[in-house]
């Protein structure tokens, strides 16, 4: 691998580690800076005095700050994300049990968005200035502008309540794959819609830029069929900036997923955090948020790695003579 690329990836790793560390510190700071009696604020009014005392001891809330920080960090690094206040279950376990739902929703939505968005973007680029292109441009903006939870609610309204085509809420029976799939359709669509618009626009502008470049002119000068020029050559070049911006949008996507999960009452990281929030169950919030941050960082790293897969300039050595 090229020295530059290796250095770049190393710096990305460092940044990622810093982000995770930063998030951990921030979460710790939040729990430490809570105004008033920490136990009452974090546990909420439903905690009994005994439980509060036990909690304080366990969490080490009666110990000095730096000791608490150390305890927190070591716990996290060994996989111990704390214990749920209400149920007593380990937070890590709770998070792990709902993660698959969020994964399926999020990556399914991305997949759907790419499947629809890329062809639309290519079409718009190859038919630049046409009516279809302008209509598509407007629709893309519309899709991007409307927040996904609003789309989710409207879809829910139309397809579940009015038309009664698809089931309303929840993730479905764990044993029934078909049922689960049916219940995925609307949430995935809600998440995907905004992204279809985003990807279509991105692909369109990347393609337009690429198609104006000299190497595409070379292909045309040799009479290579336009079909090949567009789909074999230009599209690959256009992927690079597209992936870059997709990577940057992962954060927004996760936010959208949280809201969609809540609208459709689906289990998942978002719901977990939200439900815990409503009852002031801070350990769960803390643990789940941390996991989300780690996931986010990992996805970003993967996106960066995928560059080397696509762009050979990042892989091998420099020019030979």
């Amino acid at each position: 691998m090229r020295a530059e690329t290796a250095r770049y990836l190393a710096s990305r790793l460092v940044t990622s580690a810093l982000i995770v560390l930063g998030a951990m510190l921030l979460l710790f700071a939040l729990s430490a800076l809570v105004p008033g009696d920490p136990a009452v604020t974090l546990l909420g009014p439903q905690a009994t005095p005994e439980f509060a005392r036990q909690f304080i001891r366990e969490m080490g809330l009666d110990r000095p700050l730096h000791e608490r920080l150390w305890l927190f960090l070591t716990n996290v690094l060994t996989g111990n994300l704390g214990t749920d206040v209400l149920s007593g279950r380990p937070v890590a376990g709770m998070v792990l049990s709902v993660m698959p739902y969020t994964f399926v929703l999020t990556f399914g939505a991305i997949g759907l968005a790419v499947l629809l968005g890329v062809p639309l973007g290519v079409f718009a680029a190859t038919h630049r200035g046409s009516l279809a292109d302008n209509v598509l441009a407007f629709i893309s903006v519309a899709f991007i502008a409307v927040p996904s939870f609003v789309v989710a609610i409207l879809l829910l309204l139309v397809f579940s309540i009015w038309l009664n085509w698809l089931p309303v809420l929840g993730a479905g029976n764990a044993d029934d794959l078909w049922d689960q799939a049916r219940r995925l359709i609307l949430p995935m669509a809600a998440l995907a819609i905004g992204w279809v618009g985003f990807i279509a626009r991105l692909v369109r502008s990347s393609m337009l830029e690429v198609m104006a470049e000299p190497h595409i002119r070379t292909m045309r000068a040799y009479g290579i069929p336009e079909r090949l020029v567009t789909y074999k050559y230009a599209l690959k070049n256009a992927c690079i900036p597209t992936i870059a911006l997709l990577g940057m949008g992962v954060g927004r996507l996760l936010g959208g997923a949280v809201l969609v999960e809540i609208v459709f009452a689906r289990p998942g990281l978002g719901r977990l955090i939200f439900d815990a929030l409503s009852v002031r169950n801070f350990p769960v919030v803390q643990g789940a948020v941390l996991v989300v941050v780690v996931l986010f960082v990992v996805v970003n790293l993967l996106v960066d790695l995928s560059y080397s897969a696509i762009d050979p300039r990042m892989r091998r050595g420099g020019a030979a003579k």
């Binding site: 921030l26 939040l30 609003v150 949280v258 919030v285 803390q286």
Partner: protein, 284 residues
């Protein structure tokens, strides 16, 4: 007065395209509703009328009533005020913080600059909603929190642009002249850098308004932002969502308001950017 002419010219260009004109129209409507809410609204948005809940649209209640009998139209109008207030506060905060950081980054030695840039990268790509949840978990929901969170999210935007502008200006000859004349840093910043930064920053600000509106709506929808009974659009959507089986009107109406507002500002912002950036102007 001379500053007004380019403004008029830009606006004319914006309205020259269909999306731009549409966006501008929507922006005017929303701003009008926001500013003149007490006069535009027909009822007191907080006035309960339980007997009249879920009333259909009528002459008395243009868009009907919600689950507590409050006039939907009036609540929508006040929602516009809230959305605009939050958006403008958050943007003002981000503008200030971002500009300061950006200028700082441009003037600092490479290490410091790199640190600021990394900070920008982290903030801009971070799942802000998720962290917002964590913050709210501790400090409790409030409108102020929404402004803070939105402000933080937007700061890198402004910071990067400010930094870029400072970098290009730094080598400009007239700045060299000023420095030779012994002008101090504050004078240079206020007399030269800021006026030149304002243009692109204003375009950026108008493009960021829909972002803030969306963040606020999302958080308020979850009950983590603007607290009811304040009539934020997010709160209205949540109310409508809860009582979806009773009436679909509140949800649809408030969702439409949110969607149209964000769409309008996005269209306007993009048309504004296209009108101001000469490179793009040529491409058309």
């Amino acid at each position: 007065m001379t500053a007004l002419r380019p403004l008029v010219q830009v606006l004319r260009q914006v309205c020259g395209t269909v999306p731009g004109a549409l966006g501008f129209a929507i922006v005017l409507v929303v701003l009008g509703a926001a500013i003149f809410a007490p006069w535009v609204a027909t009822h007191d948005p907080d006035r309960l009328d339980i007997m009249n809940r879920f009333a259909a649209p009528s002459a008395a209640h243009w868009l009907g009533t919600d689950h507590l009998g409050r006039d939907l139209y009036s609540r929508l109008v006040h929602g516009a005020s809230i959305a605009m207030a939050v958006a403008l506060s958050a943007i003002a905060a981000a503008l200030t913080a971002g500009t300061l950081l950006g200028i700082l980054a441009a003037w600092m030695p490479p290490r410091g600059e790199a640190a600021v840039l990394i900070l920008f990268d982290v903030i801009s790509s971070f799942p802000s909603l998720v962290l917002a949840l964590a913050i709210v978990a501790v400090f409790g929901p409030s409108t102020f929190m929404v402004v803070v969170i939105a402000g933080i999210t937007l700061t890198p935007h402004f910071g990067r642009v400010a930094r870029a502008q400072v970098l290009t200006l730094r080598s400009a000859p007239f700045l060299e002249a000023e420095r030779i004349l012994g002008a101090g840093l504050p004078r240079i910043v206020f007399r030269h850098i800021l006026p030149n930064i304002m243009g692109p920053l204003i375009v950026l600000a108008s493009m960021d308004i829909p972002v803030v509106i969306t963040i606020e709506a999302g958080l308020s929808f979850l009950g983590l932002g603007v607290r009811p009974p304040l009539a934020s659009w997010g709160v209205l959507i949540q109310d409508g969502y809860q009582y979806l089986s009773d009436s679909w009107v509140p949800v649809v109406v408030s969702s439409a308001a949110l969607a149209v507002a964000t769409l309008g500002f996005t269209l306007f912002g993009e048309a504004l950017r296209d009108a101001v950036d000469p490179r793009i102007r040529q491409e058309r």
